[in-house]
Amino acid sequence: MIQLKTMLNCIDNSGAAVVECVQVLKKKRPATVGDRIVVVVQKQRSFGSDSTGNSGIANKVRRGDIRHAVVVRARKEMQRPDGSLVRFDDNACVLINKAGEPIGTRMNGVVATELRGRQWSKILSLAPMHV
């Protein structure tokens, strides 16, 4: 149930920490896992923890940037074809460019398997774990 003003965690190393949804693409209803959305970066990852160690990879996005993203976790439960339900404790996304490739190179955190059926298998392979 990600819609206008929803705050999401960004779980890649693009530099964004918290983003806000401003648009759900190709859908007239709230976004869920696998949906593409437009977000505004609200909070950057602190330079101290991530980027100063390897200064070559600076934050690729800044606060206030407008980017596309894919939802990878949703708090609202979703039903699998076999009837089972999956729910996460937070809403999370991964930033992508217009072509649909992830901006970050690494991801931390579990993602939903539903991404596979929706041409996001690259994100799925980057993720350390999927449910």
């Binding site: 976790r73 439960e77 076999d82 009837g83 089972s84 339900l85 999956v86 729910r87 996460f88 404790d89 937070d90 999370a92 931390n108 955190g109 579990v110 350390p128 774990m129 449910v131």
Partner: protein, 231 residues
Amino acid sequence: MANSSSILQQLGCVRSLFTTTTSRSTTLQTPMVGRRMLSTVYSAKPDPIPFPKGLPDQFYSQIPKRMRPDLAPKKLKIVPPPPAPQCKDAVAAVTQAQLKTLDPSGKRMRLFDYRRYARSVKPGDIIRVTFKNGDPFAGLVLSIKLRGADTSVLLRNQLTRVGVEMSVKVFSPNVESVEIVQRSEKRKRRARLYYMRQPRHDMGSVENLVTNYLRQKRALAGKKDRGNKKR
């Protein structure tokens, strides 16, 4: 009785005067409480005059439509009630039939029907479910929904520090095996442990317990046949 009623009658109600006393004696037994008009005195409905027989065809058009025998309203067709159902509770019968195919041995039912079997999975236990496609999911049982063939169990775990909940249909053919990793030491006083979602009560990840359990299981199995290692 007939006398007193005839006093009440007035000249206006001529029809009641003509009716026979024998037939009226029964109808007038009923007390006339609440009746205002004398003219509303009950009288039996007169029998309809039988339609004259042998009437020439040309007269039919002169008779009012509602009185014509050929245009009389048709008799309502009364459908007899359907026969009584063969089984009393059809839903229960269907459930039984489904369970017979999904769980022929009844093992799964015994594992989850906590109302009937004492050794079943209970809320608060940690179980590990393996699916047909190979990937397992382990978690704390928050609730068990007993709904016949649709019985499901809600599991909660933390993966990479993110809480994940999964509701699994127990009798689904996708579920290959269910193992109890750990039973809760104390009986929980709730049937639904939704409070375990709160950070204050959250159990955290159960992965350590599960790996320990798997190691033990492998050690036990290793005594029987070595070399059958998983992972």
